[in-house]
Symmetry: C2
Subunit: 450 residues, 2 copies
Amino acid sequence: MSEALRTDLYQLTMMQAYWKSGHDPEATFDYFVRKIPSGSYLVTAGLSYVLDYIENLRFEDDDIEYLRTQGFDAEFLKHLRNFRFTGDILAMPEGSIAFPLEPIIRVTAPIMEAQLIETFLLNKMNFSTLIATKASRVVYAARGRSIAEFGLRRAQGDGHLEATRATYIGGCASTSNVLAGKKLGIPVSGTMAHSFVTSFDHEIESYRAYAEAFPKKCFLLIDTYNSIEGAKKAVIVGKELEKRGEKLMGVRLDSGDLAELSKHVRRILDDAGLGYVKIVASGDLNEWKIDELVNKGARIDLFGVGTELVTGRPTPALDGIYKLSDVVQHSRHMPKMKLSDDTIKATLPGKKRVWRIVEKGKFIKDVISLDEEHIYDALPLLEKIVEKGKVICNMPSLEEIRNNAGKNLSNLPDIYKKLDGAPVYPVEFSRELVELRERIIEKIRMEELS
Amino acid sequence: MSEALRTDLYQLTMMQAYWKSGHDPEATFDYFVRKIPSGSYLVTAGLSYVLDYIENLRFEDDDIEYLRTQGFDAEFLKHLRNFRFTGDILAMPEGSIAFPLEPIIRVTAPIMEAQLIETFLLNKMNFSTLIATKASRVVYAARGRSIAEFGLRRAQGDGHLEATRATYIGGCASTSNVLAGKKLGIPVSGTMAHSFVTSFDHEIESYRAYAEAFPKKCFLLIDTYNSIEGAKKAVIVGKELEKRGEKLMGVRLDSGDLAELSKHVRRILDDAGLGYVKIVASGDLNEWKIDELVNKGARIDLFGVGTELVTGRPTPALDGIYKLSDVVQHSRHMPKMKLSDDTIKATLPGKKRVWRIVEKGKFIKDVISLDEEHIYDALPLLEKIVEKGKVICNMPSLEEIRNNAGKNLSNLPDIYKKLDGAPVYPVEFSRELVELRERIIEKIRMEELS
């Protein structure tokens, strides 16, 4: 299905206005983020969706028919019927580390085309990048313990698959979401629900029934009535499994003081000779709570994280934006910027590139330059992925993207991964960019504000 | 497409355990919310999705094949191949007002069936109810001014359509999301972007191009460089439109001090004889900011609200849960509840109903009773909508659902709609329910905790 109408109405009205006025210059837009919700860096994600979209972007008959009912011009709609994206796109590969103001994607195309794709690009990139970044923080907080994503029931509706995909890119080990397992090949994991326990006359009967069905993959939920009593019953069932030559895999805590309970349950298991049984913990966890649990010496082997991971709580949206930076008119580049009454909303003019200085495998600082500049001893971060409307890069697999993110995260110095109070990573503007910005601000002041 | 695998893995492992142990009693689950994120009430939404799902729920060959690769039992998978939902569902109609702990949906079915549907039901109901409730607050804060939903670019990926649908149920007047217009029939609206303005050599040229393309539906964005200067240019173009017998419809502010700017811009427009031109405002708005703007006497006719509306920020997930309340064994009802180390996580046992006392068209209080009770002079809120797996209610249209929500909201006394500090709406438990709860807690203490 084409997603051409997955856009804001104003993209289409602006397109009609561009078309009617014969104003369709080549334009360059940058996708970038002004402010990072928590922490100092972003793990970029969502680019695969953008590439799929670009390749399949067209208006179907029923799209055109709908637009006709909304009063669009018949000639303009004829033009839309043959619409294709024909521009160039540079982007940081999916799974990159990015910082505020850096162009993550740079689109150059006739302005009607570049304008239309804004909304889809923002919708996909903002959400996937938000969640991949969040996941990387949760994984970092767990210091080597695994994170299982359990968020489907609290995910924002149909966004669940993208959410799960992004948590995997950010470093989560598995998901409870079976559809994500089937469609994306992500490992699936799960234990049991309280209803399973309460549906039986006695808690221990429920444990036996589960152990019978999954003797090799048995995790028992122990907090339905009382976690300590549950742990004691899990020991009984664990011993019964041993007699059959099997091993209980784990128990799950889902409420109460997880640090204290996990230590107590660990002792109960160890005292019974069940040192091999893992302890899983869940219950409204996030990076800060996990960090605190680890600091308190909680004996937890695996964390199940749901709501916060898939919604990005406390900040459920990334303020990524897509801003015009250059227009070519009469074969001349006209760098563009928004000034705004709020300084923070001003943008960087001109076609730009992003460079990274890396020393001994560690990221030191980035530089945003104009397109024609070359920053020596620095890695260019933007790669050309679409040329004249065709995707020219290899589409990496999800595993490759996840590995790329993991490698990049390991190259980012730990100081920038601090959950709170991480310093700002240095992102410099080249002198040419600074000078251009000053010239454009002056030009706007002269021409528009006097 | 069947959504059978849109579930948590543990639902399927529990199903296999139920199936292997021959434990498949009739079970009743309640969907309810423990805590409302902001405010004192919920506007329920999402039920239409649940009904579609129930009617189409089956495991396709490729679903079964995927589960086989995950180690499920071959005989169990044969059983799944013929799986259908055969139970009964009672629910509050979509667009109802609900309060914490009240069953919004009550599912009674063989436990394997009732268990499987949990995740989908939670995913859909939690999100749509969250957003419809949020929207109703934003609409209330605007006191009669229209709310246009502009959230697509910040929506959580593919959740955007459900988000837009829920904002419409909650009372928003329109959306920028063209796909929602096409698929759901929601009115679409939009203005122009900063890029449209900056792409031209001069701001006023962009206004003229837009007015030329949309002489009857012309909204001009005036804050790209400076809102006051933008307003003056909008006046020029408004006058040019008048000469052609047309009227400028509106101007949009998107940054700065919206209260002060709107008053200043109103004066500029009025002084020029353009008293008919509307002022639209946008820019990270929410119910609190709109309330403040209205209190400050801002001259804003229409608010565009994006991020907060479609993500529910600051609380992007509703903690709605689905808990086992009753099991029939040997033809006897066995009421069930979760006790938990956290008292807040304990649940209400038994098959239940919800009643509402209404006086002079206003909601006074609700009562949660056991199924067999009748509360006199009260309206029953749960209606049977699925019987033996078949949907038996008429599926209301989106307009009907929106009207239902609007009617219910007008019957809810205003005191409960206060943005902050609204009192708790009285929800009582019948004496029989209280007594049952005490008996079950005592039984659990005796049997599981000693």
